[in-house]
């Protein structure tokens, strides 16, 4: 496996499957009384978050601590790093702390790629701009596998703001690599104009969910409305909100996912969010196990 996980494209389909298998062992560790293994003891992990994020950061931090690693957290808000001005300096400073692993989240696409070329440490992308969020896609795949088994021939609908979603993009790469079919559902303003072969775009939710096994709802950001991508939240909910009735078109045992945090009543109704079909909380639990697997398998500075 490569020393870094910057993009899902860094992984072969076999490597993805291996991560999922490894994650299930770590999930067992998480059920024990002593939820810790000494595997990465003495390794230094730096969490470099240029964008605020409690959930992903916490998930990584737990994964790191369960592996007995030493954790350093850097929350760099954009005001303290003037618009990327001292980005290179910040990155090189982190390397001088002797980090073995750097988990980075940054508002600009491509930054983890840049980092992986500068530092010896293993770089794990925790979200870069609108580009990718590889560990989210892996934990989503793990959750789907737990619930539905095999990926080949599975129909997955990603619903919402695909244009600006790194979760959508990483999931698309990951699921297709595993043999599933992916489709996009949303307003035309929020679906990219140029799509790779094999991905269908649906502007009608009912049509888009027909026969689908997995419904992945994406967060709608209020600023998209302010910037003119769609006229109002209520119109968005009417057309694309995942509500109980809309799910009739989907497969009977279809599963509803969401990367969080949810906007109840906008992209997803409260009933669906709290229903049996929704595996949102499981996604969170699985996230820790999957991240432990990634940290374990990706090289570290000595790889």
């Amino acid at each position: 496996m490569k020393k870094d996980l910057v993009s899902i494209k860094d992984l072969t389909a076999d490597e993805i499957r291996h991560i999922l298998v490894t994650a299930s062992t770590f999930k067992d560790v998480l059920k024990r009384d002593i939820k810790k293994v000494p595997t990465l003891r003495g390794k230094t992990m730096v969490n470099l978050f240029f964008e605020p994020s409690t959930r992903t950061r916490t998930s990584f931090e737990l994964a790191q601590k369960r592996l007995s690693a030493d954790v350093l957290n850097f929350s760099v808000t954009t005001s303290s790093v003037v618009k990327g001005e001292s980005l290179y300096d910040t990155l090189r400073t982190i390397q001088s702390y002797g980090a073995d692993y750097i988990v980075i989240r940054h508002p600009c696409s491509g930054t983890p790629h840049l980092l992986s070329k500068i530092v010896r440490a293993s770089v794990i992308n925790a979200g870069d701009g609108i580009n990718e969020h590889p560990t989210q896609a892996l934990l989503d795949a793990f959750t789907i596998q737990e619930k539905l088994g095999e990926f080949k021939g599975l129909e997955v609908a990603i619903v919402g703001d695909i244009l600006h979603s790194r979760v959508a993009r990483s999931n698309t790469l990951c699921l297709r690599a595993l043999g599933a079919n992916v489709r996009y559902v949303g307003p035309p303003t929020l679906i990219p104009t140029y799509l790779p072969k094999g991905i269908r775009a649906f502007y009608n939710l009912q049509e888009g969910l027909r026969g689908v096994d997995v419904v992945m709802a994406l967060r709608v950001q209020k600023e998209r409305m302010d910037r003119g991508f769609f006229p109002s939240e209520r119109e968005y909910f009417k057309l694309y909100g995942i509500a109980e009735e809309r799910l009739q078109m989907a497969a009977p045992n279809a599963v509803v996912m969401h990367p969080g945090p949810m906007n109840r009543g906008i992209e997803i109704s409260s009933e669906v969010a709290d229903s049996e079909r929704a595996v949102i909380l499981e996604q969170v639990t699985n996230g820790i196990a999957v991240r432990m697997a990634v940290l374990y398998l990706v090289g570290g500075a000595d790889a």
Binding site: Y88, C108, S109, G110, L114, P192, P196
Partner: protein
């Protein structure tokens, strides 16, 4: 100091005189004193320096009508001195710097400053392009006549478009007083909206916001409509899309006074150059697709595109060492202009004569400059080119302060070996 200069046995290509054959050129008193075709000049004066130009092309000095020299205000990126020195090494004897300096060149004082600086420290001729609007804000016309008197040869808000169509109309109308072109940076800023590379399959793959081709197309169409309305002279800068080329072709057929320029990166690179988030490939307009590259070449071949300019946009190394979103747009291209353009001759898109038109004669015509010719009596600005000499592009081999070129590491074929400005020889080593 030799009294004169004899360029012997070179392949002289001067479309302004219809010359395209082997011959000798004699320079005396900083002027072309004799151009002999098919025969050899015998000169008895031992004080004349002789340059053997067998196997070389001998052409008028190149004129780059679109560069950013960054002075005043951004001297860390480039200065008039370093920029013109780099130009000379690239075979250029005249450059036209754009006004997006700091302060902006929207008044005669800044224009005079640039000209004076070039005279004192520069290595080639500098013909400033003044701003269309005050502060390049796109609302009020700048003092074009006063700038013209101070030496400005055309007007542009380059770096930015004039978004307000009424203001652009007024600019085209007003420019008729001076009979100079209005140079349009054709970009609809609203459509660009945060984009950093061409919008397409690749921008999707890289997770980068895209700049649609329509951003250029709508403004080219608009500017042509305004040129038709006003009968003013329009020059479209850095054309990058097939549709823009087609619009310009149709406009010319209709008789509208429009000329156009493109840059070497638009006929040698595609958006693939961005792979790996290479900020040296971040440029505005962005690198497009293979189809657009083909259309640019067709436009050069059939004369739709009149000029090849560099859009030389040097940046300090630190500024390009950023994430793709925040790195500034721009390619440092003044030294690679000639070598990259020579590739068009080797693949038969242009004859050497056609290339000289694009790089020298046409800019001179469009901007009403002296130059672009080897005519006897004219100032001796010329360049001797070795079409086979390899040119390895590295940070060390570039004299400009700006090392931001996507061609780093490439070996190009053909470069200037002697650039002669006002009769003085500079040997490019």
């Amino acid at each position: 100091m030799p009294e004169g200069l004899l360029i012997k046995g070179g392949h002289i290509v001067d479309p302004s005189q219809g010359i395209d054959s082997i011959g000798d050129i004699l320079i005396e008193d900083a002027k072309f004193s004799k151009v002999a075709i098919g025969t050899t000049l015998r000169v008895n004066n031992k004080a004349i320096r002789v340059i053997e130009a067998n196997g070389m092309y001998v052409i008028p000095g190149l004129i780059d009508m679109h560069v950013h020299l960054r002075e005043p205000g951004y001297e860390h990126k480039e200065t008039i001195q370093t920029g013109t020195y780099a130009a000379l090494r690239g075979g250029l004897t005249a450059v036209c710097p754009m006004p997006n300096t700091n302060p902006i060149n929207d008044n005669a004082t800044v224009t005079s400053f640039m000209i004076r600086k070039a005279y004192q420290e520069g290595y080639c001729k500098v013909y400033p392009i003044g701003a269309i609007t005050k502060g390049q804000k796109g609302t009020e016309l700048a003092e074009m006549a006063l700038m013209h008197e101070a030496g400005a040869v055309a007007f542009s808000d380059d770096g930015r478009p004039v978004m307000n169509s009424l203001v652009m109309r007024r600019a085209l109308e007003y420019s008729k007083i001076l009979n100079v072109p209005i140079i349009s940076h054709a970009e609809d800023l609203n459509l660009t909206e945060g984009g950093v590379m061409n919008e397409g399959i690749l921008s999707y793959a890289f997770g980068l916001r895209g700049i649609p081709k329509a951003a250029e197309e709508v403004m080219v169409a608009r500017d042509i409509a305004l040129a038709r309305l006003t009968n003013g002279r329009l020059h479209i800068a850095h054309v990058s899309t097939r549709c823009a080329v087609e619009l310009i072709r149709r406009a010319k057929a209709e008789g509208i006074k429009v000329t156009a320029e493109t840059c070497p990166h638009y006929f040698t690179l595609t958006e693939e150059a961005v792979t790996g988030y290479n900020t040296n490939a971040k440029v505005n307009p962005p690198l497009r697709t293979a189809d657009d590259v083909a259309a640019i070449k067709e436009g050069l071949k059939d004369g739709t595109i009149d000029v090849i300019a560099s859009d030389h946009a040097p940046h300090h190394r630190d500024e390009k060492l950023l994430d793709f979103d925040n790195a500034p747009f721009g390619i440092s291209g003044i030294e690679t202009l000639l070598s990259l353009s020579l590739s068009l001759v080797s693949v038969g898109i242009l004859t050497m004569s056609g290339l000289v038109e694009k790089l020298s004669l046409n800019p001179a015509k469009i901007l009403a400059l002296s130059g672009g010719t080897l005519k006897e009596g004219c100032q001796a600005d010329m360049v001797v080119i070795d079409p086979n000499k390899p040119f390895t592009i590295t940070e060390e081999s570039l004299a400009s302060k700006g090392k931001n070129t996507p061609f780093l590491g490439r070996v190009l074929t053909g470069k200037a070996v002697y650039t002669i400005f006002k009769g003085k020889v500079y040997e490019v080593v």
